[in-house]
Symmetry: C2
Subunit: 119 residues, 2 copies
DNA sequence: TTATCGTCTGAGTATGTGCTCATATGTTAA
DNA sequence: TTAACATATGAGCACATACTCAGACGATAA
């Protein structure tokens, strides 16, 4: 059994020093949760389509529903999630709400994600 | 009712030109699915902790289980998902498998995600 | 005011998912 | 070979979630 590393534990192959080092990478619990929620929000095919659609031009709920082929209610539910996480923002023009990406981070995340899957 | 945009539809507030433009942002279905799966994989708190832990040094399943406080089985299940999406890679040393991040994209995604939530 | 339209929200439901447990696989040492 | 250990995998269950439907809310126009 290889115990080549001097920091290996005696009982099993556990490396206390590595675990200590790993614990330094921990985020604050709220930050960790927020970061996971950000990726989770982008990890749904419908929401990802919305983000891609908004990456070039703002659109209203009607547009998005017609584009995605789902009800406006479903779009609204998803937009709520994206709004709460500051992935999208909106602008009112009369009764119509126009949604857009909130900042540049979203497009950058998508670009890097695409780089990864195309590697 | 505002129909300020010349491309607004008559029936409702639907903008055909915007929808046409949005459809140009569509990815190939397999790519779209892969991209969503990538973000979905990073959107679970357990898997995100694993990725953060591996961001500085490789670790074996034992290490990760001890670090996360969950069973090795649970870790193995999550590592399988991360492996299949090429988020992590492993290296065998005797009976022990050491896991590491597969490439630089993962760290960059995490960094940009952190920028976003800290904005 | 009322009527209409765009959007939002709560309830209900079907599907997805992350864990535990038990077992299988694969490697090393005796 | 057998035994021990590290890891992987399948089944089952509890919980999360994305949709539809029905109705509410908010803005505009008559």
């Amino acid at each position: 059994m290889p115990k080549t590393n001097e920091d290996a534990c005696l009982c099993r192959v556990i490396h206390p020093k590595r675990i200590e080092k790993a614990s330094q990478t921990c985020l604050q619990p709220e930050e960790h949760e927020k970061l996971a929620n950000l990726f989770k929000a982008m990890g749904d095919t419908t929401r990802l389509k919305i983000l891609l659609a908004l990456s070039h031009e703002e659109m209203c709920v009607c547009d998005l529903a017609a584009f995605l082929g789902i009800t406006e209610s479903a779009v609204s539910h998803q937009l709520r999630i994206l709004r709460q996480l500051y992935l999208v923002a909106n602008r009112r023009e009369g009764p119509v709400l126009y949604y857009r990406l909130n900042d540049e981070h979203i497009s950058r995340l998508i670009d890097i994600g695409l780089e990864h899957i195309r590697e």
